[in-house]
Subunit: 517 residues, 2 copies
Amino acid sequence: MASFFRLTSSLRGLTRPNVTNRVSVRSLASATGTKKAAVAAQVQYEEPNEPGPFFEQEPAGPRVATAIPGPRSKDAISDLNRVFDTRSLNMLTNYKQSYGNYIADLDGNVLLDVYAQIASIPIGYNNPALQDVARSDDMISAIINRPALGNFPQADWSDILETGILKVAPRGLNQVFTAMAGSDANETAYKAAFMWKRQQERGGPDAEFTQDEMKSAMNNLAPGAPNYSIMAFKTGFHGRLFGSLSTTRSKPIHKLDIPAFDWPQCSFPMLKYPLHEHQAENAAEEKRCLEEAEHIIKNYHNPVAAIVIEPIQSEGGDNHATPAFFQGLREITQRNNVLMIVDEVQTGVGATGKFWAHDHWNLSTPPDMVTFSKKAQTAGYYFGNAALRPNKPYRQFNTWMGDPARAILFRAIINEIERLNLVENTAVTGDYLFGGLEQLQQQYPEQFKNLRGKKQGTFIAWDHPQRDQFLLRGKSMGINIGGSGASAVRLRPMLIFQKHHADILLDRLSKMAADMQ
Amino acid sequence: MASFFRLTSSLRGLTRPNVTNRVSVRSLASATGTKKAAVAAQVQYEEPNEPGPFFEQEPAGPRVATAIPGPRSKDAISDLNRVFDTRSLNMLTNYKQSYGNYIADLDGNVLLDVYAQIASIPIGYNNPALQDVARSDDMISAIINRPALGNFPQADWSDILETGILKVAPRGLNQVFTAMAGSDANETAYKAAFMWKRQQERGGPDAEFTQDEMKSAMNNLAPGAPNYSIMAFKTGFHGRLFGSLSTTRSKPIHKLDIPAFDWPQCSFPMLKYPLHEHQAENAAEEKRCLEEAEHIIKNYHNPVAAIVIEPIQSEGGDNHATPAFFQGLREITQRNNVLMIVDEVQTGVGATGKFWAHDHWNLSTPPDMVTFSKKAQTAGYYFGNAALRPNKPYRQFNTWMGDPARAILFRAIINEIERLNLVENTAVTGDYLFGGLEQLQQQYPEQFKNLRGKKQGTFIAWDHPQRDQFLLRGKSMGINIGGSGASAVRLRPMLIFQKHHADILLDRLSKMAADMQ
């Protein structure tokens, strides 16, 4: 542990925050249904808090009271199994006892959570600022008076968008179409791309549909329902509904038995880590993939309307590419008149140390569309080009078209991210954490292979030869970690993950590696 | 109007409710952000309330203060248009001033709402019972601690399901897979059907995938991604994502430019109304469609895994079929070993005078899956057969897998439906309303053509030769109505729509028809 504490003291940027930098705890007691004292009594403080935690009442460390699942959890899981598929269950969770970075179960176990509901909790369990917003009249109205947004938007919808979702719109993109989750965010973006492409070919927004198009569309046939495609990348993940699954290429279990569109896939660069030590061969690999991408776009038998790509392939194993690769892709899409859709469902909202992961690329032209979900707690796609708004109403439409309640929550999340400077925190903490992991890698090279995510905030991963066992062992050591791809351990802490959490994580990882040596 | 009042007094079943049958108003003032007096002052009571309204404070009638949109709405719409597509906007809504069956705008207009957010508001705007639930600790936790349900379900998830969603499960279906909205509810049901079909062919749940299947699935090709299909019905609507849109056959504008699967469509019976006056020819038409359905199922080049059908085709124009038709379909699906998915997204949760519209059919075997959304305020599919649970985990999975917050809300909706006997209310009020419409039809046969929905609760429609003008005129007369298909006026009131609301509606419809005569 000593080495980590040395790193702590030498780290710049995150000094002791003053009181206004802390999350207020005034609302905690009532929301957890317990008094403060009861919460405090339940958690064993293993060591004193470091100065300056965002969550004042957060446990100082994990507590493992029983095997996981413990006896109470086992009973409850068996009960749940009667009505719900529990085979993918990881941990039956007591959310009311979870707080900040810590997730609790029914047996008194409290784990440091660096998986965060598959990368979707942004600023901590039972965040008091979010509790206040959840109690507000605006939220209550949004919950119980859910509008059909396209027809009957609420009077303050423009305000909710402008002070929330659109406030953090990626550079160059000033419009949004709201959705429910990552899959339909991507699929509505794909629909916008197909409409844009066909409209161009038809002669612009004023060109009318032909009788043949209208008739064939009703029969699911071209030209009305064109055999056009979205090009995706091997080992990418974009969701699980029929269109999004046709672009998902993560694992067979995600795709087996489900009909798919005949859409193309391009190789994603398989880079060697650490990236800076393999620059020449990585550049050659990226060049190969770029050439393949352009070849597919020019030649695929089902014309490509758009490409979709993740800044870091997440479910597929935390595969990185360099800014040069994405710059090259942007040039190729522009040269060939296809759209570039960046899927920021997992990378967006601060996790990589910038608000959007594609901010790392310094593109000369922004992507055409950027999709989001997860940590936004709402979903949709951003766009800028007015030609991406369909030429007629009711072409991009559904009953709910998103959810104002969740848009209001995202606004509150954004406010907290800004107030506490959490993107910067994630960048700084990520660098610190990465430094610690590099030391572990030196000590246990086989257990921390292909460490990746340097200068990408806390969006960090490595390969472990016995990954699933490693993750299980994590639970018994008090940390909740997820995997991705075949062998990656992926870290997806929240944006309130701080140096003192990194120290605990590094300490436990070190012990786990020693045990498994 | 006299005739309607006569009907009122002769109607059985809905007598003056006692105080416990009323919706409590204690929470209204704070949720609307105004005091009761202010609300009351804003609404002009045109006539005294009938005895026994569920919402004590509900306006006694609509109030039209300005043209719609009025000056304030126009300004706000122009503001909204900068960031949101307002071409499909119907009415910019002031939800905080909406109450019960009445929807308000920014200009002081208060309309009787028989469209109800495209049939999705179940028990009234600002329902006090729902306000209480929205304020509860459980709801607040669900809003701010949204789980990845498949991995980290909350400890009370089985309780939320069993006392909510599953409490109203259709007969014979005791399991649910939760989703976000109608489209993904249908698509996940389709996925379950494809997995079931291929598993059967593979030799059951223990048969392993072949290498060829795993490899071809990753390439979007058969056999891993099989060219199988879902059979849908002409003029049906099942959603707008790629799989659901491939089964939607409502209008070209819903489908144009979007790639679709080569899946079959069967004729839906085009019946003559009133049904009881055309029994012989309607039976012949249904027989023709049943024969076509079986022919497609036996012969379509992309094998049919399931059929999907709405009990009443809603978006497609309120097209009805008889119980005999659906019984016939059930027999055909069983005989040919394909699944029957009933899409109750719009018909479900009480609107037809039974909790599920397919309860009208008296099927000898329940449907295999029933999908729901809209008035449930959450979504998913019910199933009963254990073989519909995929044989391995992570085959039917996504990050959020629904939303406990919305499941808690549905539970509260169910409780209110039971407490106030709202399904029965809808059946009785629907019969009353239908009787009034039959009188209007006698008076204005051209403006109330093909009146349909008898004994289907308030799920009533008719054709009007100038439908869009008729709907617009409705707004100026203080009623908010929607259309469906090419020429149908569809009524989709909430479950708290009562006789005195029906009287107002009938009065306004009568005046509109007289004006347009």
